[in-house]
């Protein structure tokens, strides 16, 4: 899928993510709708107060899996461009670990593709987060 490369922007970084950068990448004159998913660090999980999250990634494979998901979404939903940015390192409450931006001539495809991308990212991309509580820490989803 060499052709799709210009339509996909993948970023895995320790820096703060930029919503305007994602928006700018996916804008195109043929586009009528853009859908963004912005993940934010919640202050609680199952009623317990979270202090912060610590994300790590198996970087080369995380990038290749994110690229695969974006390519699948382009083909499956016929959308125009996809930006998928993920941050790693320690994130405080309210900070943004992930942004997925998708543009499309018609909005329904952009909504569906955006949900597909975030759902699949959470299932297959080798990134892990540790929830840090006042009294300890837990790798999310590691155990049943």
């Amino acid at each position: 899928m060499i052709m799709s490369e210009n339509h996909i922007n993948i970023l895995l970084t320790e820096e703060v993510l930029s919503l305007p950068n994602c928006q700018a990448f996916v804008e195109e004159p043929m586009v009528g709708g853009i859908v963004h998913f912005v993940g934010t660090v919640r202050n609680q999980t199952k009623g317990k107060t979270v202090e912060r999250l610590d994300f790590e990634a198996y970087k080369p494979m995380a990038i290749s899996e994110m690229t695969k998901i974006a390519q699948q979404a382009l083909e499956k939903f016929g959308v125009t461009k996809i930006a998928m940015h993920h941050r790693i390192g320690v994130l405080e409450i309210g900070e943004i670990p992930v942004i997925i931006a998708i543009s499309s001539p018609h909005r329904m495809a952009a909504f569906e593709a955006c949900q597909y991308c975030i759902d699949t990212l959470k299932e297959t991309v080798p990134i892990w987060k540790k929830e840090i509580f006042e009294d300890g820490e837990v790798w999310v989803s590691a155990t049943p």
Partner: protein, 80 residues
């Protein structure tokens, strides 16, 4: 043979290090590695799942390992 195994997330806590060398019989596959880890470290039984990546791709149980492969333990992911 000696296979270098990289550990992320909770698997690093279980093995105690990011980079580990695991002794496996010549011709061992992904399932053999999983079984040996389960026997050596009982904490692996607590995990919801364990996948093995070989050279940056998810490997299936029958994939044969060699000393040159980059083998990575992938516990349940939680990105996003």
């Amino acid at each position: 043979m000696k296979v270098k195994v990289l550990c992320f997330g909770i698997t690093r806590d279980i093995l105690g290090a990011f980079e580990n060398t695991i002794e496996l019989p010549e011709g061992a596959n992904v399932l053999d590695l999983k079984n040996q880890l389960m026997q050596t470290y009982s904490d692996f039984h607590k995990l919801s799942s364990l996948q093995i990546a070989v050279n940056e791709e998810y490997g299936d149980d029958k994939q044969i390992l060699t000393e040159k492969d980059e083998v990575v333990l992938i516990p349940p992911v939680s990105g996003g």
